[in-house]
């Protein structure tokens, strides 16, 4: 017998039982690159575009440094061309029946299935990530996403009646995970009838390949266009006519810069920022399983970022020992090796991790590194950092991949405080075998996603997103669809940019108020105070502003609120928040209904106040009546919140919770002084928020009249109303770091300022861009949009098993 394949090394391996390389051939990825002559352009309108005179960037294997291809860098006209293609195809695509779009998405899913090997080898080759993750997780997930959203498209006319597609969507992606992040966003966007222009970082060919696969379906070539270029083209993309929304996924500081750059540009901005995650390990946990959770969260190629690990003090030593033992068994290496846990993600990612570790060390932290890792430069070993001083800069900074920063805590209460003591709010897991404790922590965490006794599970049916500086956009689930929809009949977003708006001085100075002439009536009316903390207070500035009626006569004086009053109001709102959140929906509904009844009793006063401002008697009566109805309606809606999602392959439910935003600031419009005030207040309260409002500037008195009832009915601090110069108050609110969301209905300039200033804590903002709104129409004054904006979603995963 001829020994055709013998192992000279078999002997040695027999003794050592070491692992060997399991190389995956990437010949098909190279062959695909060859079809483009190793020179990738943009894929627009179903064709490859390779415009002349563009600079190009090499696409390199992050591990060997080998040049794989060169990628063009887009310029403004390339972006314009892509948007034009998307806009042209929008008309046709968005008017197709949902069932038809569903079919098209299913065909794309099949197309991906046919070329999955090409997809996973290409993605692993260029990103350096372990092929096993791409092959066993990313590619199947991409197909599931298409399937799931095809079903959503199919039922769209029924399930999403009253909503219409936004239009052209601009999508800006980060380098390492651009394929999967793209799929999470294009699927819902295409499903509901939007068309997309994707801006990928240079040297990211996988999205281009997906676009080519979509293009080869023949029909609707322009619905998915991919251009490669630097992130600095983001504002250019946003400013193209027709772009209605920009979805950005990437680093927090880049998101902040984009938020500022896009103020006043018109399109909405959806941010998904940062990649850090959190793991809470209680003493009652299955520690070994939790250690696997840490591996999934930070030391594998499924995790985009690093991990903050909070360990209960009583199991600290035991956990650290297990973690270190487990780290020793991690294998790093070339991503195309099938037996590798962690690949390498290029020099930038490595340097980031290196810098963090060095800095942590210099601040006195302990760093433990282990695992079999090739020693040469692109690789960075799994690292476990402990004893980091609480006040050191590293504690504040985002933890990069593949780092874990461990710190101890004593009690569950302390764990929650430490976990929430961060500007980020992405995802977290809780490990505890005590059900009550686990749920208490899961509900208390300010995060977009919480897993109980698991980490990193994803599913197309479950919304993924965040809060605080992690951005407040969503992908997946019902929330992912609303990102690309607007209530039918809403006008399209147009730029309302005012070039000469000075952000430094907008609303900075308050015009001084002087006596406004003869007071009428027997005894002079006392000035209305500020309604803060449940009672009327004198403003910090100790001055009042006159309010004139429609005849130009003095109607009364209201308080001139300022920065200190806003501060006080926000503090009062924060103090009231825990009590209000803890109220049952029934109790919240009862209070809203009680307020409605009080409004009814006060009808004659309110009507006369409105009449003095030139509102006809009939209209004034209708306004009061409608306001009462709004309070009742939101009181009734408060009962129906949250739902259970069923996920394929997971035993146990996923809860989609609707949680309050926190302190919500509302700058009410000038028009409909009572109705708009109530229409905005009611959904905010119904969803458990505490509120700071600035009423109509010209006619604040009806709102202040309502405050007299609120003073007796509502807990102090739940609603706070501050009158004064609207621009000044808007400035104070928009720049306040501890306000969780801001709704602004006022001037175009004010809207632009609010968008710009919100970059500070990245609070979600809703601005009217200077356009009036039909508050008396149910669609605009009480539509589901208000409910969606008044709450934030949290996905809570509850895997079960005995």
């Amino acid at each position: 017998m001829a020994a055709t394949r013998t192992g000279s090394r078999a002997c040695e391996i027999f003794t050592t039982l070491e692992y060997g390389p399991v190389p995956e051939s990437h010949a098909c990825a190279l062959a695909w690159l060859d079809t483009q002559d190793r020179h990738l352009g943009h894929y627009v309108n179903g064709r490859w575009l390779k415009p002349e005179h563009r600079s190009s960037v090499p696409c390199q294997d992050p591990i060997t440094g080998e040049n794989l291809a060169s990628c063009l860098q887009a310029q403004t006209e390339d972006v314009a061309g892509a948007v034009e293609a998307a806009r042209t195809s929008l008309e046709n695509w968005s008017t197709q029946p949902g069932a038809f779009r569903a079919q098209h998405l299913t065909r794309l899913a099949k197309m991906i299935q046919k070329h999955q090997r090409l997809l996973w080898t290409l993605e692993s080759l260029v990103t350096g990530r372990a092929i096993r993750e791409v092959r066993d997780r990313d590619v199947p997930l991409a197909q599931q996403l298409l399937q799931h959203h095809a079903v959503q498209a199919h039922t769209q006319e029924e399930a999403l009646a009253g909503w219409e597609p936004l239009g052209v969507i601009g999508l800006i992606l980060p380098p390492t995970f651009c394929f999967l992040e793209m799929m999470w966003r294009i699927c819902p966007a295409l499903a509901v009838g939007c068309t997309v222009v994707v801006l990928v970082p240079p040297a990211s060919p996988t999205p281009l390949l997906v676009a080519q696969l979509a293009g080869e379906l023949g029909q609707f070539p322009g619905i998915l266009n991919v251009i490669s270029g630097p992130a600095s083209l983001g504002p250019v993309l946003a400013s193209q006519p027709g772009v209605q929304k920009v979805a950005f996924c990437g680093a927090i500081e880049d998101g902040r810069a984009l938020r500022r750059a896009l103020a006043g540009q018109g399109p909405e901005l959806g941010l998904a920022l940062g990649a850090e995650s959190l793991l809470l390990l209680m003493e009652t946990a299955d520690v070994d399983s939790a250690v696997e959770g840490v591996v999934d969260a930070a030391w594998s190629d499924r995790s985009p970022g690093g991990l903050r690990l909070l360990i209960q003090e009583s199991v600290w030593d035991e956990t650290m020992r297990r973690l270190q033992a487990r780290m020793g068994r991690l294998r790093g290496g070339r991503g195309l090796d099938g037996a590798v846990d962690m690949g390498a993600r290029g020099a930038a990612a490595r340097d980031l991790a290196q810098r963090y570790v060095r800095e942590a060390q210099s601040q006195g932290a302990q760093v433990f590194q282990a695992g079999s890792m090739p020693p040469d430069s692109p690789f960075f070993p799994a690292s476990l950092i402990s004893d980091l001083p609480p006040a050191s800069p590293c504690t504040q900074a985002e933890v990069p991949w593949p780092l874990v920063v461990a710190s101890p805590f004593r009690t569950a209460k302390e764990a929650l405080a430490v976990a929430n003591w961060t500007p980020r709010g992405g995802s977290a897991s809780v490990w505890s075998e005590r059900l009550g404790q686990a749920l208490e922590l899961a509900y208390g965490l300010q995060m977009g996603t919480v897993w109980i006794n698991a980490h990193g599970l994803r599913d197309p049916a479950v919304p993924t997103g965040g809060c605080k500086e992690s951005g407040s956009s969503w992908h997946g689930g019902p929330d992912g669809l609303y990102e690309y929809l607007r209530p039918s009949g809403t006008p399209t977003c147009l730029p309302y940019l005012s070039e000469n708006l000075n952000y430094d001085t907008f609303g900075l100075a308050v015009p001084s108020t002087l006596p406004a002439g003869p007071e009428t009536g027997l005894s002079p009316a006392p000035p209305y105070g500020l309604f803060v903390g449940g009672r009327f207070q004198a403003p910090g500035a100790r001055s009042s502003r006159p309010i004139r009626d429609s005849q130009g006569n003095l109607h009364g004086y209201v308080a001139e609120g300022g920065a200190k009053d806003i501060r006080g109001a926000v503090e009062a709102a924060h103090q009231a928040a825990p009590g209000w959140v803890g109220q049952s929906p029934g109790a919240r509904a009862a209070l809203l209904w009680a307020l409605a009844a009080a409004l009814q009793r006060r009808e004659s006063t309110l009507v006369s106040r409105l009449e003095r401002h030139g509102v006809e008697l009939k209209v004034a009566k209708a306004e009061v009546e409608l306001s009462v109805r709004r309070l009742r309606a939101w009181g009734a809606r408060v009962q129906t919140q949250g739902c259970t999602l069923q996920v394929a392959g997971l035993k146990g439910p996923v809860l989609r919770l609707q949680e309050p935003l926190g302190v919500l600031a509302i700058v009410c419009p000038e028009e409909w002084p009572l109705l708009a005030f109530v229409s905005l207040l009611a959904p905010a309260l119904a969803h458990g928020n505490t509120v700071v409002l600035v009423p109509s500037g010209a006619c604040p008195i009806p709102a202040l009249e309502v405050c007299q009832d609120m003073a007796t009915l509502l807990p102090g601090g739940l609603v706070n109303v501050v009158t004064g110069d609207r621009d000044h108050l808007t400035r104070c609110l928009a720049l306040h770091q501890d306000i969780q969301a801001l709704w602004y209905f006022g001037s175009a300039q004010g809207s632009q300022f609010v968008e710009w200033a919100s970059a500070g804590n990245l609070k979600p903002v809703w601005v009217n861009r200077g356009c009036p709104r039909a508050w008396d129409q149910d669609a605009e004054g009480a539509g589901p949009e208000l409910g969606l904006r008044a709450a934030r979603t949290k996905a809570l995963w509850l895997p079960m098993g005995d």
């Binding site: 055709t4 000279s8 002997c11 027999f14 039982l17 060997g20 299955d286 079960m800």
Partner: protein, 275 residues
């Protein structure tokens, strides 16, 4: 042949502190099977190693001296000589770890192995296998007789009545099951047992052995079991003193895989000797 456990005071508080999260263990079990593929020369070497862990087993009511004899011969020569030669492994003394039979067949096995001129230990199942529901007196007598007949290892069925009521027993070696249950050696169960072995080692310094049995039929399965041990306990457990695989048909599949590795062809059943 095994050094006896020094033994420790039974401390039930250890057991009461143990937490196992089933869905998380299931996920780990799924991952571990996909994360460590072994190919080419590595696969061949690992498979040969797996052979040395096998307790080559026959536990049938109709076992007779003739099929026991065949089994023992296979234990001594588990892989065709020319295949081993091609791998340059023919002089490594590769045999299975033991043969495992019913107590009444221990004599036959000892005789057959002696005739084949080798010192492979004979393991006997005992104590009312597989249910263990017999009196303590007969159980002890059964062990004594098996040892008398020449068995050097005894797989004892523990009294599960006691375990289920919280009265645990100690052991040198733990086995996933008798192999005769509806569910036998599964990864999730093994993960929990291996973690217990490691914790016990960390606490006392004593190494307890591990033997999955039942349902391990393919070469691929055996590789997954090896990598499971390597990942959860480390290389120090990958030796016959601490790890065994109870199996009857596994060896045939391993031999076929080795044949394929050496020749590049898939073997017909009759290309390889029967066991």
């Amino acid at each position: 042949m095994l050094a006896h456990q020094r033994g420790t005071e039974l401390d039930l508080s250890w057991i009461s502190k143990i937490q196992v999260n089933q869905p998380a263990v299931l996920r780990r079990a799924e991952q571990i099977q996909a994360r460590r593929p072994v190919k080419k020369e590595w696969q061949a070497a690992w498979l040969l190693k797996a052979v040395t862990f096998i307790d080559l087993t026959t536990l049938s009511g109709d076992d007779t001296s003739s099929n026991i004899q065949r089994l023992c011969y296979k234990a001594k020569y588990p892989i065709r000589e020319d295949l081993l030669k091609a791998l340059n492994m023919h002089d490594k003394g590769i045999t299975t770890a033991a043969v495992c039979v019913y107590p009444a067949r221990v004599c036959d096995a000892v005789k057959a192995l002696k005739a084949a001129g080798c010192d492979i230990p004979v393991a006997s199942v005992a104590t009312g296998f597989p249910a263990g529901q017999t009196h303590l007196k007969t159980r002890l007598e059964e062990i004594r007789l098996a040892v008398e007949d020449g068995a050097s290892e005894v797989d004892v069925v523990i009294n599960r009545t006691l375990v289920l009521t919280g009265q645990w027993e100690g052991s040198d070696f733990i086995k996933t099951s008798t192999g005769k249950e509806t569910v036998n050696a599964t990864f999730p169960v093994a993960i929990v047992m291996l973690r217990a072995i490691r914790d016990f080692f960390w606490k006392t310094g004593n190494k307890v052995g591990f033997k999955p049995a039942g349902g391990i039929r393919s070469a691929k399965d055996s590789l997954a079991w090896l990598s499971l041990i390597k990942e959860e306990l480390g290389d120090e457990w990958l030796k016959p003193e601490l790890f065994r695989i109870g199996a009857s048909t596994l060896l045939a599949d391993i031999e076929r895989q080795i044949y394929h590795h050496v020749t590049g062809r898939y073997a017909a059943y009759h290309d390889l000797p029967m066991s």
